[in-house]
């Protein structure tokens, strides 16, 4: 492909740059500063509204001037690649991984809170459907537990699920918090705070589809070097049933019908 920039392309980049950053770029010929401002405002507000509805807590807890700088920095510097506007706010997370001017004044929990807020939204959008045949009432110890595909597991250094204008932790937790988000049977976003053991069990189920519930628990017990494996077993078996009631587990799959469709 030719890399030569046509005069049309040059004019288009000039217009887009001026819309992104009218303070530092002149509008193209024919476009007045006044009308450029109209474009800047329309486009920027569209980004701002979308980010504010995706990150309502973040928007609430940071200083308005900081929020303004974050949104305009993102609008100015980031190049969005998703054509789907509802997924645009996810790219804010990518931008937050890069160095930026405001970092000094930002609360340390900011990127983790943003990730959690996006996760709450993402589970509502997730199009994935279970790829394996499953029985809702299967024995979860004898069958391979099938997780709801929207399940997301995260570990945070800050209690991001409790952050609010009246609760702004400035130090990391001594032990990280494990959180799960998923879309339940009523198509609502639902959340769980997990103990480290429960989180390890769920993660194991998510990563190893060909193991039965009993095998997952055994493996966990030996990994932990648990002194009383039978105690863990009782606890974990009840936990699996509870997960099914909550819609985190959809049911069980028996190895005979596992086939080669297991490409989740």
């Amino acid at each position: 492909m030719s890399t030569k920039v046509t005069s049309l392309q040059a004019a288009q980049y000039a217009f887009a740059n001026a819309i992104r950053d009218p303070g530092n770029h002149l509008p193209p010929a024919g476009v007045s500063a006044q009308r450029l401002a109209v474009y800047h405002e329309l486009f920027f507000n569209n980004f701002r509204n979308s980010l504010e509805s995706a990150y309502p807590v973040l928007h609430d807890v940071v200083e308005p001037s900081l929020w303004e700088e974050l949104v305009s920095g993102f609008f100015r510097e980031h190049r969005c690649h998703t054509p789907e506007f509802p997924r645009m706010p996810r790219e804010f997370l990518d931008w937050l991984t890069l160095p930026r001017d405001t970092q000094e004044q930002e609360p340390a929990f900011l990127p983790q809170l943003a990730l959690w807020e996006w996760t709450e939204l993402e589970v509502l959008l997730d199009p994935a459907i279970p790829m394996r045949p499953l029985r809702i009432d299967a024995d979860l110890l004898d069958s391979q537990p099938v997780l709801v595909p929207s399940l997301r597991l995260h570990r945070f250094d800050y209690p991001v699920h409790r952050i609010a204008p009246g609760y702004l932790p400035d130090a990391a937790l001594s032990e990280p918090v494990h959180l799960a988000a998923y879309r339940n049977a009523q198509d609502e976003a639902a959340f769980l705070e997990l103990s480290p053991v429960s989180a390890a069990l769920l993660q194991n189920i998510q990563e190893n589809h060909d193991m039965t519930g009993a095998e997952h628990i055994d493996q966990l017990a030996s990994l932990m070097g648990h002194p009383r494996p039978e105690q863990l077993f009782t606890f974990a078996a009840a936990f699996l049933d509870e997960l099914r009631d909550k819609g985190v587990l959809l049911g069980g799959c028996t190895s005979t019908d596992n086939g080669d469709r297991n490409h989740v």
């Binding site: 887009a16 819309i19 476009v31 054509p83 199009p127």
Partner: protein, 298 residues
């Protein structure tokens, strides 16, 4: 790609599907819109409630798609992967017609809004070529929409000349937004009736009508956030007289009122359509009131 899903007919008054309307609209049993319009970028590849709502409506209404992110006039190569996904979406939901904006929506990143092209020969050949590429990739003709613009980057011709040149060079259809013609006629000082009269009837796929915001005497912003104003209704009536009874979609994106208010605006559309139908300019329409849209090349 299967072509049979494109053959449904479109007529009457349609309404844009918006998340905020879904709950009330789902229970609607009478005075229903004749067709719906969906922005694919807002609904594609979603699960859960969004997927169920979308399926509910596309199962019940003839559906057109109105895209936002194709970047038809843009400076970067077309996104082939995205176009493939669009085609898949159209097949899944039996989309009757696909339209996009005659503009660009970003540089090397999406800006999710419409930037006006300069009215130049270079922009005509660049954009026409890309429209043709999209039509080839999708295996169907598409419609392009005249957009509202608040500034006119330096060019060589008027909007009308630019638009007509694209329609002929790209061999595509036109989504004629009557409100945008009105908005631009105020913002850029031209005669909206003359503009509409000079468009090729046989290229018009369907019409848009919408409300807008009068910001200053010489600046109207195309917000889709209010009722359609009387001069735009008059221009719509004129359009039917000039080009015949055309399927017409009401766009409403912000300040969503109770559904009833939108349905009463659809009733106004239908009244004008019936009145316009008495005009002789309607003669090119095949017997019956419906127009077959966006037929494929093959």
């Amino acid at each position: 790609m299967s072509m049979d899903t494109h053959s449904r007919e479109l007529s009457g008054a349609g309404l844009g599907l918006r998340r905020g309307l879904v709950a009330e609209w789902r229970g609607l049993t009478k005075d229903t819109p004749d067709f719906i319009e969906v922005t694919p970028e807002n609904w594609m590849d979603l699960g859960g409630r969004f997927a169920k709502d979308l399926r509910y409506f596309t199962d019940r209404y003839p559906t057109v798609c109105h895209g936002l992110s194709l970047n038809l006039g843009g400076p970067v190569p077309l996104d082939a992967e995205f176009i493939k996904r669009l085609g898949h979406f159209f097949d899944e939901h039996g989309i009757v017609c696909f339209s996009e904006h005659l503009s660009y929506c970003g540089d090397n990143g999406h800006l999710y809004d419409l930037i006006p092209l300069p009215f130049t020969d270079e922009a005509i050949s660049h954009t026409s070529e890309r429209i043709r590429q999209v039509q080839d990739m999708l295996g169907r003709r598409i419609a392009v929409e005249n957009v509202s613009y608040y500034a006119e980057p330096q060019g060589q011709m008027a909007e009308l000349e630019f638009l007509n040149a694209i329609l002929s060079e790209a061999d595509c259809e036109l989504l004629l937004d009557v409100n945008n013609v009105y908005v631009n006629s105020v913002n850029h000082g031209y005669d909206p009736e003359q503009f509409i009269a000079a468009l090729p009837s046989d290229r018009i796929a369907y019409l848009h009508v919408a409300g807008h915001l009068r910001e200053e005497p010489d600046l109207i912003i195309d917000t889709h956030g209010d009722r359609v104003i009387d001069p735009v209704w008059a221009l719509l009536a004129y359009t039917y007289t000039r080009h015949g009874n055309r399927p017409t979609l009401l766009e409403r994106d912000f300040n969503l009122p109770p559904l009833n208010e939108l349905l009463s605006e659809l009733a106004i559309i239908r009244t004008h359509q019936t009145a316009g139908g008495h005009n002789e300019h309607k003669s090119y329409i095949a017997a019956g009131s419906a127009v077959r849209l966006c037929q494929c090349h093959s």
